[in-house]
């Protein structure tokens, strides 16, 4: 059964206003800003998918490139080498990613890996995956794969240029956010947070660790593969180092951590701020001084981490609650003072 706050959120006008503004974006955005918006929304999808494992379950996965890569590379390879329709390829990639995710979770459960060991094991899997991709001709090897140009044929997993990919990436981002909210507000979410906070205690009260971890990793893997396949189709060129390399995972972990782990809105807000910021400063400063944009971006991240160690959203929530409490206290004070005021002779 879902937490009632989930329905309260959906009844609130705020998400619908945000969504309405987002939907109208292609009408007023230039192609450059549109491409930044598309990239950002794909990263929202990746961050949300990672958050299920890294944020809600507390498993620091550095191997999500396996799922993203499976989505982009396998789907494209099946289409280019065997002529398999990309929609079917996406389903195959999602199923394989879910299974691989479940196997990794099983390993975690079976060998009782700690957080650090889990991170290192997933990192090792990611490296092996990259080497397999680079050495396999069917998957394009180091040369990558090049999809045919998009002609807008929806049945062939084509979405027809910037506007189509904007709506695709927006749909995927909203879908990934909903999946996060559904998990967090469902019994699975409670179990996962319990496991994250104290695994032994969670097992002692009867939570099925293996099942919960496998389900969360499978959902996260399948979602990552789905977004990866869409991102690959948008890019046309399936660069093995981009999709199967570690950089994308690190970027996703970084934005999710800066936003605040465990909350769906942390990764969302951080991605919506950091990815466009990085793109815009590179666009405007990239040609001025080599590395200046990277320096500014890095310095800002360090400042945010130092000033808000829990992340942007939890810090903002704390600030808001403190402010509200102060406001309530300020309102209560005169009432209290009125209540304590000695009665006047007239009142007598």
């Amino acid at each position: 059964m879902l937490n009632p706050s989930f329905w309260t959120l959906l009844r609130s006008p705020v998400p619908w206003i945000v969504l309405a503004v987002a939907v109208s974006a292609p009408l007023w955005m230039s192609p450059f800003y549109m491409s930044i918006a598309i990239l950002t929304l794909f990263y929202v999808g990746f961050a949300m998918a990672w958050n299920i494992v890294g944020g809600i379950s507390g498993l620091l996965s550095l191997g999500h490139s396996i799922f993203v890569g499976t989505g982009a590379i396998l789907t494209s390879a099946l289409f280019l080498n065997l002529g398999i329709n990309m929609w079917l390829g996406v389903v195959i990639a999602c199923v394989i990613s879910a299974l691989v995710g479940a196997v990794i979770s099983w390993l975690d459960y079976r060998f009782r890996l700690g957080h650090l060991s889990f991170a290192l094991i997933t990192l090792a899997f990611a490296e092996v995956f990259l080497l397999v991709v680079l050495g396999t001709d069917f998957l394009g090897g180091a040369s990558g794969l090049i999809l045919p140009n998009d002609t807008g044929n929806f049945l062939q997993f084509e979405f027809g240029g910037g506007r189509g990919y904007f709506y695709l990436s927006l749909s995927l981002a909203v879908f990934a956010l909903l999946v996060n909210l559904l998990i967090i507000n469902s019994p699975l979410g409670y179990f996962l947070r319990c496991i994250r906070d104290n695994e032994d205690a969670a097992q002692a009260i009867g939570i099925d660790l293996l099942r919960c971890k496998m389900v969360s990793m499978a959902i996260s893997g399948a979602l990552s593969a789905l977004v990866g396949a869409a991102y690959g189709r948008y890019m046309v060129f399936i660069d093995p180092y981009l999709f199967a390399g570690l950089n994308l995972t690190i970027e996703v972990v970084l934005v999710a951590t800066i936003g605040g782990l465990g909350t769906p809105f942390g990764p969302l807000v951080a991605t919506l701020l950091l990815i466009p910021f990085g793109e815009v400063i590179r666009g405007h400063l990239g040609g001025v001084l080599p590395g200046l944009h990277t320096f500014i971006y890095g310095a800002l991240i360090v400042i945010v981490i130092l000033a808000m160690p829990r992340g942007l959203v939890p810090t903002a929530q704390d600030w808001w609650q403190r402010r509200r409490r102060r406001g309530e206290a300020a309102q209560e004070k005169p009432e209290l003072q009125r209540g304590l005021k000695p009665p006047t002779p007239m009142e007598d």
Partner: protein, 415 residues
């Protein structure tokens, strides 16, 4: 109250009028600008390319502007709008969108390695804006043109032709060929085409392939494997870092039984001398090693020597001048010539001008040792894309040994 008109007011007014009239042509001339986008991997793993290419592009466009700009556009000055793709293909596509939609550039020039070309080509096709790649190994789409050596005609065909010359003309007993290449996109592609070209000749036997791990810190184990296969010749594309590790391993194992017929910077980059150190470089680079390149600073080509003298006089170039710098200079000239032919800043007209571009061999704006000059074919590649083979001399200079048109000496017998 009416203001009194004095002599001083009249003189001031006349001076202002005369100044405005005289200044008008200058203002008009200043306003004539052609925006040229420039995308390079200024940061990230491919930044070494930008270090070579960006200073040369900037230098060349300054030179063109000083020489009167684009004459068919009334002396319009070229304004470079620089962008950094952070060595990521996806980022390059975004930067191309920015340059086209925000900056309204007429043409884009840049490093554009093959993966970047693949990612940017759909953007150019959609916006109908042409681009010139300095180092890409192939062209894609309807608006990309490349000056880089292509994997097949540029690297593979020239290498196999040189091998044939060593066997047939110089009578070197080369039969067993081992493919040794950097395991990245360019290395794999060149290897694929080399294998295909070698298959055309029954004389050669490909005895194996040794892809070199790009992340490895040492190639001794790879060299042990190479030595165990006892090849007559080793062929393949290796980048500068890989070339350094390979020759270090060769020196350590004292392996001199095969001839290296190498492609890419791993054999031809002058930085190899610095990376290897004098002793190892003298023992390896100058012995049984030939490198494919389009550039040799000792090449007897007047246009290139004039350019080298000019850039040396500026003292601005900290990086060693090599093939990428040469390509960058040529790319700037291509941009200048197509803008001259188009006589317009409209990207579609600039694109159409590529089919009319013709820079003859011997032209001061042509910097390659290619008898066919520079014209782009229907595949958007130069029609004459031949390269040279050089060998290193003990004084760090390169001697052209192939093709015979430009050769300064014959390849020495195996030592």
């Amino acid at each position: 109250m009416a203001r009194e008109v004095t002599r001083r007011t009249v003189i001031a007014g006349m001076t202002a009028l005369a100044g405005t009239t005289l200044a008008a042509p200058a203002v008009r001339a200043q306003s004539k600008i052609v925006k040229v986008g420039m995308i390079n991997p200024v940061s990230g793993h491919a930044a070494a390319f930008a270090q070579e290419i960006v200073p040369m592009l900037e230098f060349m466009f300054e030179k063109i502007n000083k020489a009167g700009g684009i004459k068919s556009l009334g002396g319009a000055q070229i304004q470079l709008v620089a962008a950094d793709d952070a060595s990521q293909a996806g980022r390059a596509a975004n930067e191309a969108r920015r340059l086209i939609s925000q900056e309204n550039v007429s043409i884009i020039v840049g490093t554009f390695l093959s993966d970047v070309i693949a990612a940017v080509a759909p953007v150019l096709d959609q916006a109908k804006v042409p681009a010139v790649s300095v180092s890409g190994g192939g062209a894609r789409g309807s608006y990309f043109y490349t000056l880089g050596l292509t994997y097949d005609r540029g690297y593979a065909e020239t290498s196999v032709n040189f091998l044939n010359e060593l066997v047939n003309k110089h009578k070197l007993p080369l039969k067993k060929i081992l493919m040794v290449y950097a395991n990245y996109e360019g290395g794999q592609q060149v290897n694929k085409y080399l294998l295909s070209r070698l298959k055309e000749f029954d004389h050669y036997e490909v005895i194996g392939e040794v892809p070199l791990d790009m992340q490895a810190q040492d190639y001794t184990s790879a060299m042990v494997r190479i030595r165990s296969m006892a090849p007559d010749a080793i062929m393949g594309a290796v980048l500068t870092r890989g070339g350094t590790l390979l020759q270090q391993a060769r020196y350590s194992l004292n392996f001199n039984d095969a001839i290296f017929i190498g492609n890419a910077s791993g054999y031809s980059d002058p930085a190899l001398w610095k990376n290897l150190g004098e002793e190892i470089a003298q023992a390896t680079l100058t012995r049984n090693l030939f490198s494919l390149t389009t550039f040799s600073k000792d090449l007897k080509l007047k246009s290139l020597q004039d350019l080298l003298a000019e850039i040396q006089a500026t003292g601005r170039f900290n990086h060693a001048i090599g093939q990428n710098t040469q390509n960058a200079a040529q790319a700037a000239r291509v941009v200048q010539h197509v803008l001259e032919i188009a006589g317009s800043t409209d990207p579609q007209e600039v694109n159409a001008a590529f089919s009319k571009l013709s820079i003859k061999a011997g032209d001061p704006d042509f910097y390659y040792a290619r008898p066919g000059g520079l014209e782009f074919g229907a595949d958007h590649l130069p029609k004459d894309i031949s390269a040279m083979f050089t060998r290193w001399l003990p004084d760090h200079s390169q001697q052209v040994v192939y093709p015979s048109d430009f050769a300064e000496g014959a390849p020495p017998a195996k030592t």
